[in-house]
């Protein structure tokens, strides 16, 4: 599998580290709502099909990416830097 890193270009799967579901939102840091924390830490939609997820280009530029990938056939539909505020990313 290749992942088209917006910064580095298409690279082999072996350079990337999977960082899990990207649809969860972290509760406010000071939140004491245990249920919200449980949801955030433990619960996942785990869809069969389109999945929004984080990967890190750990063996490359180290940037975290947001990827839309189909979990049924591993087809990657979109890749973006998790931090969209980098000019370098946009220039790619």
């Amino acid at each position: 599998m290749l992942i088209d890193c917006p910064h580095c270009g298409a690279r082999d799967l072996s350079e990337f580290s999977y960082q899990g579901d990207a649809t969860r939102t972290r509760p406010d840091p000071a939140s004491t709502d245990t249920k919200a924390w449980i949801d955030y830490v433990y619960n996942r939609p785990n869809p069969a099909g389109k999945h929004r997820e984080y990967w890190q280009h750990a063996g490359g530029c180290r940037a975290h990416l947001v990827i839309e990938r189909d979990t049924l056939n591993h087809e990657i539909r979109s890749v973006a830097l998790a931090r969209r505020d980098y000019n370098g990313g946009d220039a790619a």
Partner: protein
Amino acid sequence: MAEYSAFSLLKNAFSGNRDWKPAWRKPDPKPNYDVIVIGGGGHGLATAYYLAAEHGITNVAVLERGWLGSGNIGRNTTIVRSNYLLPESVRFYEHSMKLWENLSHELNYNVMFSQRGVLNLAHSPGQADAFIRRGNAMRHGGVDAEWLTPCEIGRKVPGLDISGSARFPITGGLLQPRAGTARHDAVAWGYARAADRRGVDLIENCEVTGFLRDGDKITGVSTTRGDIRAKKVALAVAGSTSRVLERAGIDTFPIESHVLQAFVSEALKPFVDCVVTFGAGHLYMSQSDKGGLVFGGSLDFYNSYAQRGNLPTVEDVTSEICAMFPTVARLRLLRSWGGVMDMSMDGSPIITKGPLPGLYLNCGWCYGGFKATPASGYSFAWTIAKDEPHTINAPFTLKRFERGAAIDETGHGPTPKLH
């Protein structure tokens, strides 16, 4: 239906093997059951069997989307063991082990459970201590465990690199002599046949498309073969847990589905007797009765329902097996395959009533569900029949995440890919 025995084999041989009957019926679904078990894999079939055998509940249907045993029981590395660290796990898997030890007789089906031992190699003083901690936990839980020195390991398993100059020298090994391997397909077929003989309907090619409900309560299922009602609906669908739960309106759950690859070499004359695991990475290997070296390693590390893996894992696993057994480099990989694992947040299973009224759930086996098949079926059937958990599965509920009582054998926390 005839008992299987050496005698029946002989008798049938004389009649040209023409009188063998189907191992199980192929019934059409009835409109109503006491219990519907969704999932005709190992755990679903075992659950149905124990419902009938232990609780006299025989008005049971097992609904299988494909063919029986087509899930992870048909694509694993066949290892059976109870060498766990945490008391909850030791108790559960040892219960399973005891059921394994009599399973062929109980089912009248040779599941070829071979107690050839599982040996975990340690490669540093710290790892040796961690394994000894586990072995001692087993011994205190009434489970067999032994510590082997590198010399003893060399004698038991020829071909291992036990030299001090190995990249990760072997410092000792934890052996569970009663552990071993079983013929995975036979386990599914044995449970299927035994359940069928007790009146359970095994319905293949029947996919559950939705749930019938009365308010919150689950009252049955819609399937590709029509609606079927039941007092209780039990779910044992391994890698598809989230997909099926979604049809019951449950959108998030402490499960991720990941792909795990497994590998087999060409057949060889006896090469290695026991199951060996390599501690300087993640690798487990045994030799099948046919002669193939069966081995596997870590997940592919990303969510997947595709039943196909990728190359980096193949390379990792093969480099580890070569580091452990240098001679294996010359042997050839025959086949690889991938299965979908339901990875839970602490690496331990979930066997519980709920999460909706009328629904019962068995999932989260990560990549260790095969060895659990008997105890999983046994305790799940108990939970369904009595509406309360058996002592062995009482700690394995969903509540444990809320309470902070995770059963985390690896200590990796809520990172499913690492369990």
